[in-house]
Amino acid sequence: MTVTVNGVCWELLEGATLADVLVRLDVPARGVAVALDGAMVPRPSWPATALADGAGVEVLTAVQGG
């Protein structure tokens, strides 16, 4: 299946979870938040959140700004 992660298309196996994506992205232990299809998913829910074909994942962190 195909999932979009921060605007890039990823091919993933059926049954992949949000946690699988975030491990591959090597996300830091702190300072990151994730939205799946426009809704925030808290970190404790990442392993149990299965991804569907066509899902959009946004992984955000704090940067200089404002």
Binding site: A33, L60, T61, V63, Q64, G66
Partner: protein, 252 residues
């Protein structure tokens, strides 16, 4: 001089200068500018995680016990801003948010309709909301009534350095007196920061004026002193304006 702390939503800050981190040439300059400014509260933006985003601005703030204030910069609608605020709360473990909902890229002026809508939603969701607002006393009152912890009217559009375009509006917002007023955006140099404080603002938020100055560290120091000077002048009570001269030396 007696302590004169800034209090927002029950939290006390020794500095009345809120700095933004956008526009700094590099982290080393940003770090020295933040320290020179004396700021205790500093804005950060939320963006996609990539190699460039792993620059460690949060580590820098933590190292100096500067509280991060995530913003919703770039959001055009209440829905976008609410989602960004939720992501910021999750990532930064703070319920404080500088709420920005702008109408277009050319002016970067706040969209008042979307702004008020987002503010109401975020207050309901338990956020401490500091909205970047137009210099409109009526909008400021509505934001305060909605439960915002402060109001942050602009002096002039973001990044212009034009200073305070409508000082009387800022004074009217201050006169409402229900929540702290933070002059946000448009400050270009220290005298404008001092003027904001003389008009009665509780604090000043600026970024570009420091980060894009030829010498950001020196300008940060200038802003610290400007804000302090303006605050003292406000509390000291200025003399009334006179049309004719008034001798300061005895005549006999």
């Amino acid at each position: 001089m007696a302590d004169d702390p800034l209090v927002i939503a029950g939290r006390t800050f020794g500095s009345r200068l809120v700095l933004g981190t956008g526009g700094a040439a590099n982290m080393a300059v940003l770090e020295r500018a933040l320290l020179a400014s004396g700021t205790e509260l500093t804005t950060v933006a939320m963006r996609r995680l990539d190699a460039a985003a792993r620059t460690g601005v949060l580590d820098l703030l933590r190292r100096h016990s500067i509280e991060p204030l995530p913003n919703t910069a770039g959001c055009r609608s209440a829905a976008e801003a609410v989602l960004t605020a939720q992501l910021a709360r999750e990532a930064l473990e703070t319920s404080w948010v500088k709420l920005e909902v702008v109408a277009d890229d050319r002016t970067l002026l706040p969209d008042p309709i979307e702004l008020l809508d987002a503010a109401e939603q975020l207050v309901d969701a338990g956020f401490t909301v500091l909205p970047y607002s137009n210099d409109d006393p009526v909008l400021a009152r509505k934001l305060a009534d909605a439960g915002c912890a402060a109001v942050m009217p602009l002096g002039s559009p973001i990044g212009t350095g034009l200073g305070i375009g409508n000082p009387h509006n800022i004074e009217m917002i201050v006169a409402e007196g229900s929540v702290p007023v933070i002059l946000d955006a448009g400050i270009g140099t220290a005298s404008q920061a001092a003027l904001a404080m003389e008009l009665g603002c509780d604090a000043v938020l600026l970024a570009t004026a420091v980060t894009r100055a030829d010498d950001p560290v020196r300008m940060a120091e200038a802003m610290r002193l400007g804000v302090q000077a303006g605050r003292h002048a406000r509390l000291a009570g200025r003399i009334p304006r006179r049309f004719w001269a008034h001798a300061s030396s005895p005549r006999t």
